[in-house]
Symmetry: C2
Subunit: 338 residues, 2 copies
């Protein structure tokens, strides 16, 4: 299996990206995976060439251009044909690699991926599914991408695709799928959510448990939380922001006096554990569901560990045939609709 | 000034509700306020009759019925004419009281209030505005109520009314008003949000600062955060849920070993401070903006302190003439639209 890794995407590229690839390749259970680093040769080669896998399981494909960040994603992808993300997506599109991993701009990655290898037939709207930590373990939140105004059928597809992600990649059997709404009753929600609820209830092969409220997400009330990309974006960023604000207040609190300073010191191991459980780098990135090939979008702030885990998600998605499973589902849906 | 207090509404009614009223009346700066307790005489009188204000600044109006919780709000209000919330709203509608305060069901309170004293002319959709804590102090979030599917003009009205709340009740001069969206750029957001942005930009007399993302709410990026009731509900409950999940993890963390136990003990004062800053009871309740009289909806879990503060919000809203100011705004808006 070959994974194309955008070595230039992300806040800590290329150093942390390359390091993530090296760490991934060192783990014995990944012996069957090759990583293709895509990026500027003079920036990337010095970071990678000392590896014992260099030239065998670790390759480099040169991509000299850097994408201008002030452009709209479609414009950027069209103009910079030699940018690392465009070249990496192209390798997957032409079959030279099986999956794409990038920590670059989400919009640009989506556009580059969909241009290079397109959508699965029958999937109207590819969606970005990410993993959020809960008290019961990881859960999938879908969509957190660009699908801002959705129809009920889009939410239904997000539910199905999210369920495949949870089951195949996270290994959750019969994932509990819920629709995010402002109340648990089936008549609660926007018009679109209420209509999606009615459709999901009738759907075979999905463990749909009804609506979930915002307060239950982090308590692990569902394994897959379905919403449109507008709400998903707000949920994700709000959670990051609130967790950050609480951390800031705790730091301020710790610095109050010697008692709180000592307390914080002794309490530290518990706080580290808390941070570990809330840490996105443990989960490695979001999956672009509905694309015809596997595409993992890692957090812009990704460090080596996050990249290593993102490559792991890509590997899992390829070996569990996530794309094929979604394609079969989409086909059945089309047949049912006719 | 007279405030009608639903003594039977809320998880801890009537004990905590009555206690909140008693505490409020004891504070010297509230000498000009009378509280009318509305509820079952045999339940409420024993809790209140020992007060030195009993019969003077503390009155009781008997309301024998309890609302069945399994009914839809409109149905419940229609059927239970002798329920405390219906009687209390009636007192405000008939001019016997200046404001309504309840910790009962939000939907029921809204329906009872709007049936008893209606909306301000020109306000299409009354909205529920609540106060959320941020690193920079309190901010207003509006709507968190029942307005699930909104038009752009509704969001514009929420922005204006929320700004009045922040300025008059919270005392924030020229409050910074922002639209909650999935990106800061003005072309980011759902169709409705993008259209509302365009209208808000052109509006005189409002300190509109553009879009705000989810991550900036708790960092105090705006004084008024505007969204539809679907998103507002999710934001509010998600925040409660995440803060609760973090608290649970910290408790678990504290119990790991003697070191973390001692640490937690020493760190406690800082955690109390954190809890105080995140505590909704400090802020006392949401305001039903656009109703023709002042109506404060307190959290269902309200304790005496939350009720005391809710009565305080009602007093402030009445004395600062919030309803009049919103009525003038609505009239100007109607005139402009013609």
């Amino acid at each position: 299996m070959k994974i194309a890794l955008d070595a230039m995407g992300g806040d800590h590229a290329p150093e942390e990206i390359v390091r993530g690839a090296l760490e991934f390749l060192e783990e014995p259970e990944h012996r069957d995976v090759e990583v293709i680093l895509v990026g500027s040769e003079k920036d990337v080669a010095p970071l990678a060439s000392a590896s014992r896998h260099w030239g065998t399981r670790l390759q480099l494909v040169h991509a000299p251009e850097r994408i201008g960040m002030d452009l709209a994603p479609t414009e950027a992808v069209r103009r910079f044909k030699e940018a690392s993300i465009v070249v990496a997506a192209g390798l997957v599109g032409s079959g030279q690699a099986d999956a794409l991993v990038s920590a670059g701009n989400t919009g640009v990655t989506m556009v580059a991926a969909l241009r290079a290898f397109g959508r699965i037939r029958g999937v109207e709207r590819p969606a970005v599914a990410t993993v959020v930590p809960t008290l019961q373990g990881p859960a999938v939140l879908c969509d957190v991408g660009a699908n801002v105004d959705c129809r009920p059928s889009h939410l239904v597809a997000f539910a199905q695709m999210g369920s495949v992600y949870a089951e195949q990649v996270l290994g959750i059997p019969k994932p509990r799928v819920a629709l995010l709404s402002n109340g648990e009753e089936e008549n609660k929600g926007s018009e679109v959510v209420v209509a999606a609820h009615a459709q999901l209830k009738e759907l075979a092969g999905l463990n749909f448990i009804g609506n979930i409220e915002g307060r239950d997400i982090f308590h692990g009330g569902a394994d897959v939380v379905v919403c449109d990309g507008f709400v998903g974006n707000i949920v994700l960023k709000l959670s990051e922001g609130l967790a950050g604000a609480i951390a800031t207040m705790m730091r301020e609190g710790a610095n109050r006096n010697w008692r709180t300073k000592l307390g914080a010191l002794l309490f530290k191991s518990a706080l580290f554990e808390l941070r570990r459980r809330m840490d996105y780098t443990e989960y490695g990135g979001a999956l672009l569901l509905g694309a015809a090939r596997v595409c993992v979008i890692s957090h812009g702030a990704s460090n080596a560990k996050a990249i290593k885990n993102a490559i792991g998600v890509a590997k899992e998605a390829v070996s569990r045939d996530v794309t094929q499973i979604i394609a079969r589902m989409a086909q059945e849906r089309v047949v049912t609709e006719i």
